[in-house]
Symmetry: C2
Subunit: 199 residues, 2 copies
């Protein structure tokens, strides 16, 4: 069974993906950064860790074929496909209220940190991401194009993947137009489970 | 008032440093990596964040003059001096039991993650570092030399600094001899407080 949904610009959502299932993130407009978190559904105190992933890969960025690990160095996601041409950042934290204050914004600005906490709360999973860990910034530093680049992530355990479509519009993180855009997300069960629930 | 103490090889200790005070880490044998954590004493849920520090500095490594920030992008430590010639890593996580298992070690091996938790527990501060955040790896990637390179850190708020002398002896992180060594640590109060407590 496959479900396709739209992640609206400036928002964040938590997606449940069972072991072996996949989640495809389609960069519909080609310029949207998607900060990506994942926590193990059964052990939500453990989640995707960029520092441990860098150490395991011996690289600063990730690419198709890589297994991404949690803070126990245990594989949690597999990058099954990557049709994008560029770099997925592992170094930069999520945007947060302080970042927008520093950029001169008075008052509220949507931000990935708050969106992450809200999405986790709505998913019913205990929110143990305090502070929010450094995410995998899908499509960050990628040249703007409009091909609908996508990344296919495979769950190596039962996970909750939290995806915000980054609302950053004060610096050109989300393309030169500084315009947060919608992103398409497609979740597919593991092959074994497809048989149980034919689409 | 200044206090000098030795951080024994393979162990970790938490040091209290009040705002404006300094902590000098002296790489006595020139080859020892010191994973460095710091948490705000009044708000121990917030601590030094390598991801936020990289974003604020726009660099992957730190150098003298830099202000290092916590997960709220708030300055927490200042690198007041750095007599070492090299790189202080911001990218790699602390060693942990899994790391040594992966290197083929059967049974217990001292590790910085456990040493960090133990040191925080002994300091009486609530241990909110779960999982242990990526530390500032002082002297990591620095060529071996025996000059007693040192780094002087100034507390920008009241902090607890946690320092393990990394026990990694299965790969040449701590010099080509793979020999964890003692490290000297010197803590000095802020100038204003020196007047109150003359040495």
């Amino acid at each position: 069974m496959a479900v396709t949904t739209t992640l609206a610009a400036r928002t964040g959502t938590a997606f449940q993906v069972s072991q072996g299932g996949t989640l495809r993130v389609i960069n519909t407009y080609g310029s949207q950064v998607v900060d990506t978190w994942a926590v193990a559904r059964q052990e939500p105190q453990h989640g995707l860790s960029m520092a441990h992933t860098r150490a395991m890969l011996g690289r600063l960025t990730v690419k198709a074929g890589d297994e991404l690990v949690d803070d126990r160095r245990r594989p949690i996601l597999h990058i099954a496909e990557d049709t994008s041409p560029g770099v997925h950042d592992t170094l930069i934290p999520a945007c947060d209220p302080v970042r927008y204050q520093q950029l001169g914004r008075k008052g509220h600005h949507d931000n990935c940190s708050d969106n992450c906490h809200r999405a986790l709360a709505e998913s019913g999973l205990p929110d143990l991401l305090t502070p929010v860990p450094a995410p995998l910034n899908l499509f960050m530093n990628v040249p703007v194009n409009s091909d609908g680049d996508s990344v296919l992530l495979r769950a190596l355990t039962d996970v909750v993947v939290v995806l915000p479509a980054c609302p950053q519009d004060l610096v050109p993180v989300n393309g030169d137009l500084q315009q947060p855009r919608d992103v398409e997300v497609r979740i597919t069960d593991a092959p074994g489970k497809q048989a149980e629930e034919p689409s």
